[in-house]
Amino acid sequence: MTARSHPILRLARRAAIAAAFWPAPLSADEALRDPTGDVPVMEEQARAAGLVHAYRGPWEFFVGGGAAALDCDGDRLPDLFVAGGREPARLYRNRSTAGGALRFDETPLGLDPDDLDKVLGAYPLDIDDDGHQDLVVLRLGENLILKGRPDCAFEKANRAFAFDGGRAWTTAFAASWEEGRRFPTLAFGNYVDRNAPGSPWGTCHDNRLHRPGAGPRPDYAAASALRPGYCALSMLFTDWNRSGTPALRITNDRHYYRGGQEQLWRVEPDRPPRAYRKSEGWQHLTIWGMGIAEGDLDGDGFPEYALTSMGDTKLQKLSEEADEDEPAYVDIAFEKGATAHRPYASDDLKPSTGWHSEFADLNNDGLLDLFIAKGNVERMPDFAAVDPDNLLLGQWDGTFVEAGHLAGIDRPTKGRGAVVTDFNADGMLDLAVVNREQNLSLFRNRGARTAFGTRPMGNFLAVELSQPAPNRHAVGALISVKAGNNTYSRTVQVGGGHASGHAGFVHVGLGTAERAQVRIKWPDGEWSAPYRVFANNFVLIAREADAARYWYPPEAPHADTARRKDGDSWKAGSAR
């Protein structure tokens, strides 16, 4: 089936027409005001770093294209597993050193080649609490759980974990440790049921919820349907009302569902999951939902959500008029300048196609930025053909300003999934974007743009949590970093984005703060005592520990001289 003839194009055309009649939010020109703070210089280095890989394939792989960043060899640097579509998925071991050039080596996975075929995405998490990150691999066909072993070895654990990977077209995933459970609950989001009559229209597959059994080992034999499914493209367990019990937010692709909408499911311990209804405050919203990002933009303790779509991105904030426990959201994307509805680097007025979304502080100024991967589905004529990824920099007035072109990520690629993480442990977030039919992009963050090159950006803190099993990596914990009057919140989550996730250090930009107090709301709701930490450090906080522990990344073999000259050669302060 060619892209031109495919029904997705017809609906897309309708979407484009709808977009044309919107009251124009900010025009492209108006949106391109200069950011007031630092613009990170993102230098593309994929091939030089050893990453030669593209996500390819026919219609089924128009969606997906994810990556998972995880430390699989114990050096605390994020390694990278990348989906390939019809190409094999690959694992790249991170050989970078502190503050050095990005470098990766492909590492054979030693698995059945068939299992690495038709992979759409992946998320890391330590399912069996053995201290090694496992991988949940989303496929066209049987999903996989790859149990992590030392030294980047993985083994297929579907049988060991009594996990039926199904035969669906899986495009989304999220996980959460429910109260009283020893192992995580796994949610899988499925796309079109291609075998259903009338496919693909109105034939969205049910999603699946796998709750672990009560035994001493992971047992996912029991699974239930999250019905109806509306062609999920991203899902995220999120404690939207800070109740301590995360709900499951699912963003769905309106191309294929009929009568569907965005979804929020109550997933309460030992009770069947149930979708929020209109009578409970959930409002009907239909978008071409592609990716979910969560971030507490205004520091009120309640997360905001960025939902990518075709056309404008939604930025949802809990309505001030909502009653307690009423999930009623208002869209603030327009007033915040975050619609990102069409390309910013050209005169093309056709609407954008957004995929992965992720809040992160890429310039370490203490304000959350929003990255959105963009790319035409395939060759959809009514949507922008050249659709560069967005880097919306958070501003002090609460708005966002586009800086993708200033940062250097405005490339003519078709972005899909992505990972925003610090690959070389220099305190500045790097970016890997999986591109459809093109080599993935790997952007090394070189620091703030200046007339003479780059300069260091703001201070940062990187935090990793641990606690006794279950849930050793504290998925669901809230990291609250207080510096001065500012409180920065991050949640340890598995899910969201577009078919992509990362584990390991959680990054917080601190601006001018030299130190901070960190408090952890552990997944069971218990708050920790405050931990006092110095900025520009990587710290590990273990539950009940008296103090945070500092970790230092590996340095290049000849870093000694530089270190003696410059102090911390690895840190963000030496970005040049």
Binding site: G37, D75, F452, T512, Y552
Partner: protein, 479 residues
């Protein structure tokens, strides 16, 4: 030199040579101090003697000038906090003796015995973090820590020593980490630099660091030599803090657009009140202030007593912390410096930083050197924090608030150079004689203090005679 003479000299030096950009209102009678901003772009590489002198003169002008409304004095919509922090409404009065702003000029407090010196009790400042409780109208210690004004003579050498120690400590850390990673076994190293013992660290093969053994220094191994508590990294950082806190003059490098999104963060109608170059001038002036000296008393009896007192000073254990000398390898004062963090200009923030060669200053030629050619800085300190109060001797444990993670009873060893010129004493500036402050030493200094008390009256007097020779010598105080 009188303040008037200093000011005339400064204006003469400023008259032409510094690359500068004018501020508005440049009439000779304009009520303002900042008539021309110093251009940071003109400060790159090693400054020649004249350029350094001009820069320092500009710094002296800013240090002594009493900032006015036209300069932008005041911070109606910003607090004294080190991290730029807005306030919702202006205070009732612009000046507040407690929470600030509390002076118009640096020299309003730093003036004993001359500009750049210490302050009397009346010049005490009230240290609070300036975040939630930024307004307080009480000197009650539950709201703030009351601190005396330290002198700045020799401050450039102090910062250079701290930088060299910091680099050594971080190199030790790096070596330990490298060894642990290479051998696969934990590596423990003594954190010792310039003869100062900062405890131990243990690196683990996975890059984790055990910091439970460190002493007297922050966990990031950065020696912060300034403030009574030893929590400020550099003259530059302190200058930026103080300009906002005490004068409401907001330096662009922290309170400007880059970190606040605003050019007038304090809402007083003045944009970019203090330029990056202005701060550099202030730093250069302070860094070049002469080191205090050892006076030679005219009276033979005092000379003899001082000699005995110096021996006693060592014998009873004062030198354990008040080390008479620390060796310094280089007099190159890089500005910006290597250890500052975002919000204070950093090495990487400029294309090429400046070097203020302190060797160009006459007073540095009189500093002793050791057989390695290192400058022996006669600071009588150890750039290390210690516990200074205990249950029995608690006078110096009078604060209730920890500051920047440093516990209430822990302070940086006070450098004793200049102590003969800067009474009263103690971090609250409320101990009226050397004898009183020595008796107030508890905690880690308890043994030395007890030894002092066990001395006969003559020996105690001799020790005081010695300390009184450590003076800021007005005759050598030149800009």
């Amino acid at each position: 030199m009188t303040r008037g003479g200093l000011t005339r000299l400064v204006f003469a030096a400023l008259a032409g040579l510094l690359a500068a950009r004018p501020a508005t209102g440049t009439e000779p009678w304009a009520e303002r101090v900042v008539t021309r901003h110093v251009e940071q772009a003109s400060l790159a590489g090693r400054l020649e003697r004249d350029a350094l002198a001009r820069l320092r003169a500009a710094g002296a002008h800013l240090f002594t000038g009493r900032f006015t409304a036209l300069d932008g004095v005041g911070r109606p919509l910003a607090t004294q906090a080190i991290i730029p922090t807005k306030r919702k409404r202006p205070p009732e009065t612009a000046f507040s003796r407690t929470s600030g702003m509390d002076s118009n000029a640096c020299s309003s407090c730093h003036n004993q015995p001359v500009t750049g010196g210490a302050g009397d009790f009346v010049a005490n400042v009230f240290v609070s973090e300036g975040f939630e409780s930024f307004d307080f109208d009480s000197t009650d210690p539950q709201f703030s820590n009351e601190r005396g004004t330290n002198h700045l003579f020799g401050a450039g050498l102090i910062e250079l020593l701290a930088r060299e120690i910091t680099a050594e400590l971080k190199a030790i850390r790096g070596d330990a980490l490298a060894e642990a990673r290479a051998t696969g076994a934990p590596a423990t190293r003594a954190l010792a630099a310039k003869g100062i013992d900062y405890g131990t660290i243990t690196a683990h093969p996975d890059g984790m660091l055990d910091l439970t053994g460190i002493e007297g220094v922050d966990a990031d191994l950065t020696v912060r030599p300034f403030s009574q508590k030893g929590v400020m990294t550099s003259l530059r950082q302190f200058t930026v803090n103080a300009l906002n806190h005490h004068h409401g003059m907001q330096p662009q490098e922290r309170f400007g657009t880059r970190w606040t999104g605003e050019r007038d963060h304090d809402g007083d109608g003045h944009d970019d009140e203090i330029s990056v170059g202005d701060v550099s001038a202030l730093v250069a002036w302070q860094a070049g202030l002469p080191a205090p000296v050892r006076a030679v008393p005219e009276e033979a009896a005092w000379r003899a007593a001082a000699a005995r007192g110096e021996t006693t000073f060592a014998a009873i254990g004062c030198e354990t912390c008040h080390k008479p000398f620390l060796p310094l390898a280089s007099l190159d004062f890089a500005d910006p410096g290597p250890d500052d963090m975002a919000g204070t200009l950093r090495t990487g923030d400029v294309e090429k930083g400046a070097i203020y060669d302190l060797a160009l200053l006459e007073w540095t030629k009189r500093l002793p050197r050791n057989d390695k050619g290192e400058i022996m800085v006669p600071l009588f300190g150890d750039l290390k924090r210690h516990r200074i109060a205990d249950r029995q001797v608690a006078v110096l444990g009078n604060e209730l608030l920890a500051q920047r993670f440093v516990e209430r009873n822990v302070f940086m060893t006070a450098e004793l150079w200049g102590v003969g010129s800067t009474d009263p004493y103690g971090h609250r500036n409320d101990l009226p004689s050397l004898d009183v402050v020595i008796r107030a030493h508890g905690g880690d200094a308890r043994a030395a203090r007890d030894n002092y008390l066990a001395l006969g009256e003559t020996e105690r007097s001799a020790l005081i005679a010695f300390l009184k020779t450590l003076v800021i010598e007005p005759a050598r105080v030149t800009p």
